[in-house]
Subunit: 459 residues, 4 copies
């Protein structure tokens, strides 16, 4: 946010609205026009900030970040925004996405004498920026961005300006809003809504937006991807908030459509449609409307279960599902159910929920998943578990059905899913479903690629 006296407090609200995007750490970095200050820590937004802290950060320009780690451990040093000083002065940086050539770049820079304080892929971007040879280029930032491969929606805060960048394939969403004379940049529109900012437009793939006291300026960078794109379709399926608009489309509406498409592709004979809370509620509504089967409520959620909980013993870890979700026994007993899920990853919690419905007396369970089977790792910013843990990896749909112990199981087809989103199919990255990666990934990547356990020599 740039140009509002309460930028820190409003950024704080914005982070709160985006809390679903990351719960490991939270941070804010602000500028008074000449100098940056930063506060960041592990935990939820409400754990990291208090009033005194926001008071210290009170400045007219601010960037914030909530993190769920896709590169680097969940440790303090990695909490973003990161704040660095280099020959150009101070810079704060917040990164959504994942670079696929971070390890290679880091090795290069280390060999040239650079030192690293974090295991985030983000830190390497600042090293590139600080390199004198890059600074001498006509447009150093464009020059630097051209070295990066992968997904990056970036916010860079300099003492006198806020710079927003979206990679040329546009893997992650990023939008601009206005609140009076101030500008707001955020991953999702729900962060604009909470501060009453008006949506202006998306930062487009391959665009650099610079906001200064003089206003908003835009320039493009990167090779023209020739009409192709990498917009993460999983944002629509699961990650983004239903109230947000991303990629030019409301998330709830997309999910409702996926539910309708699913009903057309995989009808079922049943008494009730039961969506699994909370995410599948949108698709459930679509399925019910399309199928004509009444929508019911099979679960209630415990609104106080946001935090870790002390269990009497280890065995009761399986109680955790039960603590967040309660089955309404009388609503499902004796009923044939169509259960709608948005996606199935490991399958273990889904299995737990199906078991709970069965024990409550459901006579048939027809599970319908509003997206295709997940069978491939994501290198662009979604932290799926190790592929070996994906339930659909080496299993047929029938095997998954057996594992989940349901009477029937259908996934929405790739085509079906893509028919529900607004842009042409090749503007989306569907790699986790299809295995087709919009960017070549040359070396095997894992989340801890930047953390080495081997002893290096030092004389």
């Amino acid at each position: 946010m740039f140009g509002h006296p309460d930028a820190a407090a409003l950024t704080h609200l914005g982070l709160f609205a985006l809390q679903h995007r990351g719960r490991e750490s939270a941070g804010i970095c602000t500028s008074d026009g000449t100098r940056l200050v930063r506060h960041a820590g592990m935990g939820l937004v409400n754990d990291v900030f208090d009033g005194a802290c926001l008071e210290r950060l009170r400045n007219p320009a601010a960037i914030g970040h909530v993190r769920y780690s896709t590169t680097g451990s969940c440790v303090d040093a990695n909490a973003q925004p990161l704040l660095f000083e280099y020959a150009g002065g101070q810079v704060g940086i917040a990164h959504n996405g994942n670079l696929v050539n971070a390890a290679k770049l880091r090795r290069q820079y280390e060999e040239h004498g650079c030192i690293f304080r974090t295991s985030c892929d983000t830190e390497v971007i600042v090293h590139l920026l600080a390199k004198p040879a890059h600074q001498r280029k006509p447009d150093p930032l464009v020059h630097v961005l051209n070295h990066l491969q992968g997904a990056y929606s970036l916010l860079l805060l300099f003492p006198d300006r806020l710079v927003a960048v979206r990679d040329p394939l546009g893997f992650r969403p990023l939008c601009v809003g206005r609140l009076g004379d101030a500008y707001v940049v955020a991953s999702e529109t729900c962060a604009l809504d909470i501060v009453d900012a008006e949506y202006v437009r998306d930062v487009v793939p391959g665009e650099i937006v610079t906001i200064t006291a003089a206003g908003l300026d835009s320039r493009r960078f990167g090779d023209d991807p020739g009409g192709r794109g990498g917009a993460c379709v999983f944002e629509h399926v699961y990650f983004a908030d239903p109230s947000s608009n991303i990629y030019g489309q409301n998330v709830h509406i997309a999910r409702e459509k996926m539910g309708r498409a699913l009903a057309r592709e995989a009808p079922a004979e049943a008494d009730l449609v039961i969506p699994v809370p909370n995410c599948a509620r949108c698709a459930g509504i679509g399925y019910a409307q399309e199928s004509g089967i009444p929508l019911g409520r099979g679960f209630t959620t415990n609104h106080f279960a946001g935090r870790s909980f002390i269990m009497p013993d280890q065995r009761s870890r399986d109680r955790e599902v039960r603590m967040k979700l309660r089955v309404i026994k009388d609503a499902v007993a004796g009923k044939r159910l169509v259960v709608v899920e948005d996606s199935v990853v490991r399958g273990t919690t889904t299995r737990g929920k199906m078991g709970a419905l069965r024990r409550a007396g459901a006579t048939e369970i027809h599970l319908r998943v509003a997206s295709p089977p997940i069978r491939h790792p994501c290198f662009f910013g979604i932290d799926f578990p190790d592929p070996s843990e994906l339930v659909a990896l080496h299993r047929s749909v029938e095997d998954v059905r057996a594992f989940l112990e349901v009477d029937s199981l259908y996934y929405l087809s790739l085509e079906g899913m893509l028919s529900c989103v607004k842009m042409p199919p090749d503007k989306y990255c569907t790699a986790c479903f299809s295995g087709r990666y919009p960017v070549e990934v040359s070396e095997p990547l894992d989340k801890f690629v930047l953390e080495r356990r081997n002893v290096r020599m030092f004389q």
Copy 2:
């Protein structure tokens, strides 16, 4: 809970499941068979207890309490269960409900030299119990209970026994479950579910259930109410969890029926049925099914908003609604909506939500409330605000409609509501809606009746 080595930890889980019934304070009192220990404090269950604390409480018998105050301030000393010692030994007490003659009894006992440490109505019960004249009666507890007027579901923990009591009119729910050889007593069945206990039966109005190592014993007390009862219908409308069964009926099912009845009583021409999260979701499903108007989703809830939040300034308090509830603009824009609410108390937050839908582009808003207008105070355990703040108090339905700025407004009729619950109408207390109190309330009561501001003389 009685008879389980992990009684404290399981009671802790049970309190967590009942958190919606009270968020001001939480406490647990346990017995090792000879001596009671207690821990209680202000805040949510997760704020009050940690692992070390539960370890200290580890004992085979336990009672717990979550509080939202209907008598007495929100202060530490009032956190239940209360623990006292008297000639009979130690007793821990947890009380759900509200005594209507507490002030009178307290005055009497103070005049006889009793001292009080809390401003809870509960403390007076222990004074009655400790009175030597009462102890000499054949059944002291029954004798004591006969002095009490009003609502009381009580748990009393003595070193060697757990006693559960429900007042003769049965204002508040109370049920018994079994987990192996242990017994569990709880306000709602959702607390049985979370510990995997099996529902056995309700404690019936006017029943004393005593659980010892020898098992469960039951006796009756009080005058026969001649077929009348005081089961709080507002538990079905709003207070209890949808997954719980109370008064012999599932809460979700009752609410769904109220939604259906509402659709019959007050149909509307509209494109979508939008329930207000979270409570009205059940009634919304019923309304949609009965009316044939598709159920939609107009709001998403922020799951991290359980706690207080630091606001940049006072004026942004109205941001609070927005922080918990986000409108899905694209889902309601250009639509004629039937909005279903479970009940309307002050009307201010409802008005805020209606305004948000309107700003998002809803063309018509037809508000349907699945219960009658609330126009009378509750003296039996629901903490409505001061009557002067009830929106429906001196307003016609049309006036309320104008205040809420909706296109049409209908409340479910009293008869309609009572047709959806299982017991005969005169088994319920509908006082907040109808003004008919099942027990005569002789003196004006307010929440702070036991806190005096006047100086008394002392020589």
Copy 3:
């Protein structure tokens, strides 16, 4: 404190100055003239109070308490001041001392139907006060105090007055100061100093001082003890702060005199006088001056060791002494030392310190203790360990010397000690040294006398 707008904050400062008198719990109770509020909790003053809390307590009259338990467990419910309500209105009570007939009184009152919430002896005082028969007496408070046996310096806060009471034998100190128009009452004068109050006079044994808006009023109660008294001499030896004046005499001066008397009674041939920090520093100065042996410094103290500390393993608990006290090896190596202690209780930490000096190279250690051997329990407010743990209990001085592994050991004689304090010998209680109790103690007492483990019958 009565009559100052900042009474809560100043009481807070006073508690801080008196922190050495109790570290288990801290509390403050204040009055706005019509109503009392209270905050208390476990831990040090700084742990229990924060700014918001003091703001809530901001009222013109306040009493405070820091506790180290001599009756009752170290649990939350026992944190003083206690706050009760009875027919006379509200009363807050803070008690320094120990009643010897509390158990008997409590049994009596329980048999008459009273209920107790704490295991403090203090609570019974309020029951006596509330008893209607007592309230009808011409002077109820005097009537009540006549029932109490033992040590009690009491502060009672009523909405409109502050009452200070000191028992007829004056076991514990209590003094009155003035700050502008306000009055301050405190256990030691160091609490007056910290708030800049001027010392006025002691509350005398058997006096009730009442402070209201109209000023200070005094009356006497109790039987005339015929010139005898119970002023705890151990306050002078160890408990009170050296900067305080109690019983009409400065504590440091008394201790310095004890050091001088000790030098006369038990001279030693040595190179240096080493006082054990911190308490014996006064007596060390006296010993050095009288003996002509130079005073040295053998230890430094770690000022950060106030709190519990995480140890790598259990065996390193003996590291605790070392963490608080460090030996200055070069100052004692090769030296013959006179080590001055104020008193020896269990002997274990003294032994540890002597061993540390020995390991540092001291060639001779002549331990001189500036008080007689402790061989008897205290029933009046000092929490000595179980008598069986007193090192001097069944041991001759020679046996104690051998246990402590020192070259010689002398204790100050009872007469020597009493020659150093200002009042006549029979004004003091020397029971812990002499076994002569100023009040008959009829039943065996221990700290947990008010906590029963037996199951009582309840029908």
Copy 4:
């Protein structure tokens, strides 16, 4: 510490013993032989670490740090040890002292593209180390150290080794101890004592000590300073703990000697010698012994005053002295006092203490300071205030006397002070007293030299 399974916990104890050297932040970095982990935060050792945290750090090699900032703000990012990764692997670094050419080096490195995360002078050392040209040198570390000017006692932890470095002039102390097979390196011997380690020897100026599984290895670096040195004499005067031995001499003994020298240089006619707690107690003992005037006790200290305290209002900040120090009025009233201080910096707290003695009734106050007037800034690791705040800066001794409102004032002479320490005078840095800096300081330095407020250009 290297080679002990409990290295983290023992380092934790060591930090606790060294807490007087820094209270702003604390941190520990440990190695399991292949990888480093770190935990650091703002506050005292006991605030930053808990048991779970030490458990995570449990490894056989550890370095720790407590910080009081002499370069860089008191912010989180500056908490040491710092942990970096570079081409050589990981390195943790803890620095005591202050580089005088840090700003120049940092500018150079920034111009070559380096980025900085902290405003500590320490970070630049790691950049030097990582530079490929330096790594290719026969002994990279020696090569790097030759670039550094100023004071640095360093601990470097690599996965497989611990390296201790002391600058060629030996500004700050650093010693090696042994605990079984393990080695311990610490600033003061009191940290060896607390873990029961045996003192082996000092790391000598210009020495690199490397500890690996194979044992301890030593090498030298730097130009021969030709018999001159920079051992900070202020460590002896004030900073180090009396129980520690530094520069081959016990701190207490040195201070006692300074007190004796002071008595010879500046005798006084008085009744009592009163040392100002706590630091001047050693010098007070010396003064008393040499002068024959008895040592008295004028103050007691509040052992609970270690932490910040809530004050009723701003004006009562002057209460802070009183909260830590209480005058024993009866001990000083009517007495002529020689008051011994170790040093006087701003003079404001000394003035407050003198005023308190005067108000308590002291008839004469002869202040004797056991070191010369402080008139020059320190660039080597002591954080004196801005020179303009030094009371002696542009004031004669007579003017300082008048400011402090004492009857007479004498400082120990430079020669007198140097006659009390063990090494030849030109082995010490006395710059704060004499203005003679052992190293030329080319550019004006202040604590925030590495924090820029100006906007730099970035394209």
